[in-house]
């Protein structure tokens, strides 16, 4: 099976690991070979969380620089930081809702302008899909559903070997019951947003 390499970057607390779990579960249930690797050291202390997910016939489950087919960023600055994982054929999906790191807040290094940030990513990759995932999550009444919004956008691109139904089933299985409905709604909103934000 063709190898597809996906990187998800986020700030600790944004639900990156849950999104990876859903993807893993969906792959398992549909018989797609999958391997994932995460760095969760100081995730809860506001650091960066990176998941690497490799589908298909590969043994390795980490992704070297320049070798990601798809990059999903839950936070625009982190998407920019992950550009080293991209190449000219990479598809990038990012939320446009910034979470300023302490270094930007205290003014030692300014947060890059969002327009410029998008222009850079666009220039160096095949395609950028960018929208405010936090606003869409808020629409579902669950601000924590940013992960599901972006998962919806990812599935819309058809870049990873999982179907809408696979993923929706996995969302229902893995979400806490109270959040299952809002997570599915968030997934749909992200799916639609990706159609129009390319």
């Amino acid at each position: 099976m063709k190898i597809t390499r996906l990187i998800i970057v986020a700030v600790g607390g944004q639900g990156n690991l849950l999104a990876s779990k859903v993807i893993g579960e969906a792959a398992l249930q549909s018989g797609v070979p999958v391997g994932m690797s995460e760095i969760h050291g100081m995730a809860q202390r506001g650091g960066v969380v990176e998941s690497a997910i490799v589908f298909g016939d590969a043994q390795s489950n980490i992704i070297a620089d320049g070798e990601a087919d798809v990059v999903v960023g839950f936070e625009p600055l982190e998407t920019l930081r992950a550009l080293n994982k991209c190449n000219a054929d990479t598809i990038v999906i990012t939320s446009l809702a910034p979470l300023s790191p302490s270094t930007a807040i205290t003014g030692s290094c300014p947060y890059p302008e969002l327009k410029k940030l998008q222009a850079i990513i666009r220039a160096k990759t095949a395609k950028l899909i960018a929208f405010d995932a936090a606003a869409l999550a808020a629409q579902t009444g669950n601000v924590l559903a940013v992960n599901m919004v972006l998962l919806g956008a990812l599935i819309q691109t058809g870049t990873i070997p999982l179907t809408v139904d696979n993923v929706k089933t996995a969302i229902t299985t893995i979400s806490k019951q109270a959040f299952a409905a809002s997570n599915l709604e968030a997934f749909e909103l992200g799916f639609s947003a990706a159609k129009t934000s390319g």
Binding site: L28, G46, E78, L83, P101
Partner: protein, 618 residues
């Protein structure tokens, strides 16, 4: 029922490497599990802890790794299958026990899990713990995947019982924190009760006994080598004249690189999973069939040096390479691209590396260092101590925990660190040879782990410093594990004692002891000043629960604050505290009400008293 207990044999599931290790031990009927938490090993013991609440498994968070190993050494010597889990540097702490336990041996299976951390994702060094197996003379197993980790842990218990020696099971972060498909196996019923047969002439290593035991250990090592020669964990594939010897996660990268470079038919791979003692005859045979050999191993040239020695014994002159300036580094971790590149270079295979975009024109990207949480009590303590020490020239040895982050600006409290507990020991040295005021920081769990002997040393040898014990009532950084100072009854967990830090400090002979509540800024500064002015050893115990933990228990009582109209934009709050709840909007400081936990520290230090409680909307 716990997920790992519910798992049905034969039914594929996705498991984190650490979950797979825990499941492997359960399948082997482990009855005793001990640990001191440490990334990347922590989820193994977290799972044992949860499983112990539902089964007969005895699990404990021990005060440190040495104690954890001693507990497990004794239960294993009663014939009870036991496992002891720690991060790589934990084995340094346990080394004293380990090296003589190898002489004394075990009766029931004892597996020691050491989780190495190449690249130091969350560690202070990247030591290669394979050398501990060599140093102690113990068998060493290294898995390459989650499935293999599960199977191999179960096998490690059998191997340990066969050899009557503990087995070291070594992982790296990429094994611990990878999630892969695993097929669970059958669970063997644990035998939780054991018996001890007195055997002092084999169990009490006075010199005369130890001399005999060392000879016995060497015999057992010989037996282990024979097992390694035919071990199913030393896997040979392919049949070319180019040889690759690899281990652990590198094996995956080698297999993928071989595919990417179309090297099938030209290479043969020997994956070593039983890596101490190395299968000498197998490796010599392998060398004899090769034109040249590349050794792919993260960390130190452990196998490479052995292979070169084996080649010398056989009079072989083929090139054997691994670590060199042109090939693999001893630094950090590998990835598929590094391995592909080195294979292509060494075997002279055509290869164009993928085009990484030119990033030279990127604007400077602000770093996102981990920070103390919004409202973290450590921030309050650091602020208080900093204010109390104003005007003094200080040296601040720090220790291992979330509070290590206090070394970052603007708090900048943390000057020197070596290992768990080193804040106290090094304070003795700093205060002896300098005239500066020495102020040490240590967390509650680290104090129990290895701060106490150094504190006693300080009292006995009459040293002069202030020790600040940051007591947030939990082992926070590794994921909120309990420690002896935690009130377990409050967590609805029965059967635990409780140890008072203050009682220990006083019993150690410290007379200048004060407990503070760091959110009460003025009062705390006064108490710390008194401690700092004391000649001799003084101790401040700063008590406030971990905010993140309190939040997870839904025990946070504070209400969010906001910056009111009186604000004159001095920015003392943001510049001196740098709490992540602050942000700047239109050049004014704002507080994110979803992050603010109402610790009130910023409200207390605001010169305009402009930071006020946010009234709940009616």
């Amino acid at each position: 029922m716990h997920r790992l207990l519910k798992a049905r044999p034969g039914q594929k599931m996705l498991l984190l490497g650490n979950e797979a290790i825990a499941r492997g031990a359960i399948e082997a009927g482990v009855a005793v599990a001990t640990t001191y938490p440490g990334t990347p090993s922590s989820e193994i013991s977290m799972n044992f802890f949860q499983i112990s609440l539902e089964t007969d498994l005895y699990f404990e968070y021990s005060t440190n790794e040495k104690v954890a190993l001693e507990v497990a050494a004794a239960s294993a010597n009663c014939g009870v299958r036991s496992i002891c889990v720690m991060k790589h540097v934990g084995l340094n702490v346990a080394a004293d026990a380990l090296l003589t336990l190898a002489y004394v041996g075990v009766k029931g299976g004892l597996v020691i899990v050491t989780a190495d951390d190449p690249f130091m994702f969350s560690s202070q060094n990247e030591q290669d713990n394979r050398y501990y197996a060599k140093l102690a003379g113990l068998p060493l197993l290294e898995p390459s995947s989650a499935q293999e980790a599960k199977d191999m842990v179960a096998y490690a218990f059998d191997l340990s019982e066969k050899l009557q020696e503990p087995v070291i099971f070594r992982t790296t972060t990429r094994i611990n924190h990878s999630t892969e498909t695993v097929i669970p196996g059958d669970v063997q019923a644990p035998q939780p009760r054991g018996d001890y047969t007195k055997d002092p002439f084999n169990h009490v290593p006075i010199p005369a006994v130890a001399r005999k035991l060392h000879a016995r250990l060497l015999n057992r090592l010989k037996e282990a080598e024979e097992i390694s020669e035919t071990s199913a964990y030393n896997i040979s594939t392919g049949n070319g004249r180019w040889g690759i010897v690899c281990n652990s996660v590198s094996y995956k990268y080698v297999v993928d690189a071989g595919t990417d470079l179309n090297m099938g038919g030209k290479t043969k791979i020997l994956r070593i999973g039983f890596s101490h003692p190395l299968p000498k005859a197998l490796l010599k045979d392998f060398l004899k069939g090769c034109e040249k050999v590349l050794v792919v191993e993260e960390g130190e040239p452990y196998m490479e040096e052995a292979l070169k020695a084996f080649a010398q014994e056989e009079g072989l002159t083929l090139p054997i390479k691994g670590k060199s300036e042109e090939l693999f580094s001893r630094l950090y971790e590998f990835n598929p691209a590094i391995v592909r590149q080195c294979l292509a270079a060494y075997f002279d295979v055509a290869y164009t590396s993928p085009a990484v975009p030119d990033l030279s024109d990127l604007p400077e990207i602000p770093q996102r260092p981990p920070t103390l949480c919004a409202g973290c009590s450590h921030r309050a303590t650091f602020y208080v101590v900093k204010k109390a020490a104003e005007g003094m020239e200080t040296i601040c040895p720090t220790d291992i925990g979330c509070y290590t982050l206090g070394f970052l600006p603007p708090l900048s409290m943390g000057d020197f660190l070596i290992c768990m507990g080193s804040s106290v020991g090094t304070s003795c040295g700093f205060s002896k040879v300098t005239d500066k005021k020495v102020i040490a920081f240590i967390g509650d769990s680290t104090f129990f782990h290895s701060g106490i002997p150094a504190l006693i040393n300080a009292v006995f040898n009459n040293h002069n410093f202030t020790l600040v014990i940051l007591d947030n009532g939990i082992t926070a950084m590794t994921g909120h594990q309990p420690n002896p100072g935690v009130d377990m009854k409050a967590l609805n967990l029965e059967g635990y004692g409780h140890v008072s830090i203050e009682a220990i400090v006083r019993a150690a002979g410290v007379s200048q002891v004060a407990a503070i509540k760091p959110y009460r800024v003025k009062k705390s500064i006064a108490a710390v000043k008194e401690a700092l002015n004391y000649k001799g050893v003084s101790v401040i115990i700063s008590q406030e629960p971990c905010t993140l933990y309190a939040k997870s228990l839904k025990k946070l009582r504070g209400k969010p604050f906001f910056v009111g109209e009186k604000c004159k934009n001095h920015k003392n709050c943001i510049n001196e505290l740098a709490c992540p709840a602050f942000f700047i909007q239109n050049k004014r400081v704002k507080i994110d009400p979803t992050l603010c936990v109402g610790c009130t520290v910023c409200a207390q230090i605001c010169p305009e008293k402009a930071i006020l409680p946010l009234k709940e909307k009616s």
